[in-house]
């Protein structure tokens, strides 16, 4: 039984997302399973990186595909890819969930005690002094502490490695907006990852030179 199912799914594995969606809407369970296995990881990770909560990520992943079952016919191939459509739905669910749970307040804020994980700019790479796990944890917290409009571009462009164009489709904005938000988000991340002592010494969180 399972072998038969896998064999049929292998036959459909070459189908595009759009074709799978069409089959799914026509009642093909295998198409749903294939589409889910193909796209659930990105959606789950996006929700997890946006919320920092596995529970929310699981709920959002489930909600996205339940939405696809109910309202999948609203997908318009002319407006973008299925993956962008799914990510856009996921984004809406995440933001709604965060609003409900009042998680939009920055976790670290400017006076965050966990912030000074990185050394100020020097000849040595600041991350060299940290273990890999600590580095990852500090970056994760810094990302979570960003305002949502900056967090989502970091998650999509940096962590999900999605192109500017597709990110713009997901967010419903111009590519230039994505670029500028990402630039600003990276500056904010650097500020958050810089030690407090260094900020006090320099008197500014942003290191710039205009020679």
């Amino acid at each position: 039984m399972t072998n038969g199912l896998n064999w049929r799914m292998n036959l459909k594995s070459d189908l595009s997302d759009s074709e799978l969606l069409r089959s799914m809407l026509a009642g093909d369970e295998e198409a749903l399973a294939l589409l889910y296995r193909r796209r659930q990881g990105g959606i789950f990770r996006f929700a997890l990186q946006m919320s920092g909560s596995k529970t929310i990520a699981e709920d959002v992943t489930q909600e996205v595909f339940l939405f696809l079952m109910r309202e999948g016919h609203v997908f318009d191939p002319a407006r973008g890819s299925v993956s962008a459509f799914l990510m856009g739905v996921a984004r809406n669910h995440v933001l709604r969930r965060l609003r409900v749970e009042h998680l939009l307040a920055p976790l670290g804020d400017d006076s965050d005690d966990d912030a000074p994980f990185l050394h100020p700019s020097s000849d040595l790479c600041p991350l060299d002094d940290l273990t890999r796990a600590e580095t990852i944890e500090s970056v994760r917290k810094a990302v979570l502490s960003l305002p949502s409009k900056y967090r989502e571009v970091v998650v999509l462009c940096e962590l999900q490695d999605i192109s500017y164009g597709e990110t713009a489709e997901i967010l419903g904005c111009a590519i230039g907006t994505v670029r500028s938000r990402l630039h600003r988000a990276r500056a904010l991340l650097l500020e958050k990852l810089r030690p407090v002592a260094a900020v006090e010494e320099t008197g500014s969180a942003t290191v710039r030179c205009f020679a």
Partner: protein, 252 residues
């Protein structure tokens, strides 16, 4: 390249997404000559590595298998329940249609039965009041006073060109029909006045014979013989129980 332009491209440079080789070369050359920009580039590269590490760490994460099971179960339920639901809805449509047909049949039977039961009562109710002397128009009163009520509502008539004929036999009093046969009078059907519905004519009332100027015919859309324009025409005005003129018919 100056520091301002370097600042604009440093993120792209650190992410390895420099647009053009020439621009990349210029930016790198600037970072070699400017310490601050070199430090800025190192920070950006450090951040890029940190983000890449986080992405790599989470790359294998995904939703638990239970989510897929729930979704597939929901999908099966959705696609199994739908046909059952549609069958049920078809059955309910048939039941509603049969019930509606039965209701219509019962209504028709009841309506016919009630009509046959009401006919004798109408005859009794609409007894000929014309024969009583008190209902006759006094000789000294001009007929116009009876038409005044008619004329003051004539502008409310929906169509003045064609008189609205009451086809329901119940509208015409049985006594009036009898009078026509006896006196060999020819009369139009009762024309309801504008504020009256045909249904209200069935409530009965009193009929008063009056004389009107022949021009009154034109008010009800009836043809007027201009040769006899100055002559008067007979008419029966049906007054309701409330004393208001309900309908009028012209008699020859």
């Amino acid at each position: 390249m100056n520091c301002q332009r370097f600042e604009n491209v440093v993120s792209e440079l650190a992410r390895g997404q420099m647009l053009a080789a020439e621009q990349r070369g210029e930016a790198l050359a600037h970072s070699e000559t400017c310490e601050k920009c070199a430090a800025r580039l190192r920070d950006e590269e450090m951040l890029t590595r940190g983000l890449q590490s986080l992405a790599a760490e989470m790359e294998t994460l995904g939703a638990p298998a239970a989510v897929e099971s729930k979704l597939l179960e929901a999908f099966r339920t959705r696609h199994v329940v739908t046909p059952i639901a549609s069958r049920r809805s078809n059955a309910s449509y048939w039941a509603a249609a049969i019930a509606a047909m039965l209701l219509i049949a019962i209504s028709v039977v009841v309506f016919r039965w009630s009509n046959s039961a009401d006919e004798p009562r109408e005859v009794v109710k609409q007894t000929e009041p014309q024969a009583t002397p008190e209902n006759k128009v006094p000789e000294n009163k001009p007929a116009e006073q009876f038409t005044a009520g008619v004329q003051e509502h004539e502008d409310l008539l929906p169509q003045r060109v064609k008189p609205k004929r009451v086809r329901n036999s119940g509208v015409r009093p049985a006594s009036a029909q009898l009078a026509n046969h006896v006196n060999n009078e020819i009369a139009t059907d009762f024309i309801p006045l504008s504020y009256m519905s045909a249904a209200s004519l069935q409530e009965g009332g009193q009929i008063v014979r009056v004389q009107l100027p022949r021009s009154a015919l034109a008010n009800f859309g009836l043809p007027v013989n201009m040769d006899r324009y100055n002559e008067r025409v007979k008419a029966d005005v049906l007054f309701g129980v409330d004393g208001r003129a309900q309908a009028i018919r012209f008699v020859q």
